[in-house]
Symmetry: C2
Subunit: 195 residues, 2 copies
Amino acid sequence: MPEASSPTRKRIVDAATKLFYAEGIGRVSVDAIAEKAGLTKRTLYYHFKSKDDLIAAYLDGRDQPNLKQMAGWFDAAEGGADRKVEAIFTNLARVARHPKWKGCGFLRTAAELASMPGHPAVMAGSRHKTNFEKWLAAELSARGVTAPHMLAREIVLLMDGAFSSMLIHHNPDYIGAAGHAAATLVRARTSGSQV
Amino acid sequence: MPEASSPTRKRIVDAATKLFYAEGIGRVSVDAIAEKAGLTKRTLYYHFKSKDDLIAAYLDGRDQPNLKQMAGWFDAAEGGADRKVEAIFTNLARVARHPKWKGCGFLRTAAELASMPGHPAVMAGSRHKTNFEKWLAAELSARGVTAPHMLAREIVLLMDGAFSSMLIHHNPDYIGAAGHAAATLVRARTSGSQV
DNA sequence: CCAAGTATACCGACTAGTGAATATACAAGC
DNA sequence: GCTTGTATATTCACTAGTCGGTATACTTGG
């Protein structure tokens, strides 16, 4: 039985992460991942029982790093909750200009696996999005915003919309518009002010 | 040279539409499309020069029907612009409960082809989303809403977010939340009222 | 006779996954 | 201090099937 946290396993997940994100799940072969990781396909299948398992491991491994990235942008921004929320979108628009940016890996995987609703990778994506929404609601709540859970969900919807629009139009203006709308929604629910 | 609008061509596009939407681009073989259309692969390749061309034809063919669907829901709804906008989301949440619903074909295709930014199918998707945004801005403008273009874009972002969230969570509540937020944004920009 | 359209049959490349053997390391028996 | 046993980890070679695309030949209507 393979070790749960072996360095080899990590090498495989790292290689899979790069390839799956860059090319998409269906366009990456197990052979290509094995080659990128510097080992044979048989070894890969020693550590993962199927490609589907590896896809799920790829997204599970992105949960915490992605949350930390968002939280970092939020914490670093000056100003109130509205500014901090908008900062996430501003940073998103910045990184989305990079040619290697290919949208949100969680959403893209869910789109590609739409015909397999119970797929472990889709569920990993669902967990990640829920984690983000909960984190955001807690941050908003701590800043005295009214109806923080509803607001967090609206911001998540705008963010996922921004990911999708950017992917189809390749125009960062959509992310800017989403950030502006999100900041407006936050201000509308900040005590002492109204839109 | 094949006829631009032959019945055979239509049969191929119809078969491709059903399969591509149900399974995703990468999971459908040209053989499967030919079989579903009741002809051989060689005939398919007489009418389309490549699979990529057929993918683009699939999305081009969905542009007008999708717009008509949205416009139909909008027109049929009673009340002001806010109600009409929310009606689109309400209807979307209803059809999204059907087991055959697999999200927005334009967004899913863009996600699957993220590594090929200039792909004709992605561009067809971009055109469709732009058409929808323009139609919505015109409807909002005709009803005296202020800043109709910005508002239309925000609603489109919420809608694309709703498509994505529904696909990853399989929970129509997200579409409801998006519809509620969209209606609120419309009311905030309707003369004589404020959020 | 000719051209449009369709069919059969095939190509080379690639696909996920596996069988059987082997290398490595470490523990137990003596 | 050996040797034997066992679990982990890795490799090569392979299967059975699918992929997008095509060479060639046939049919049919004008």
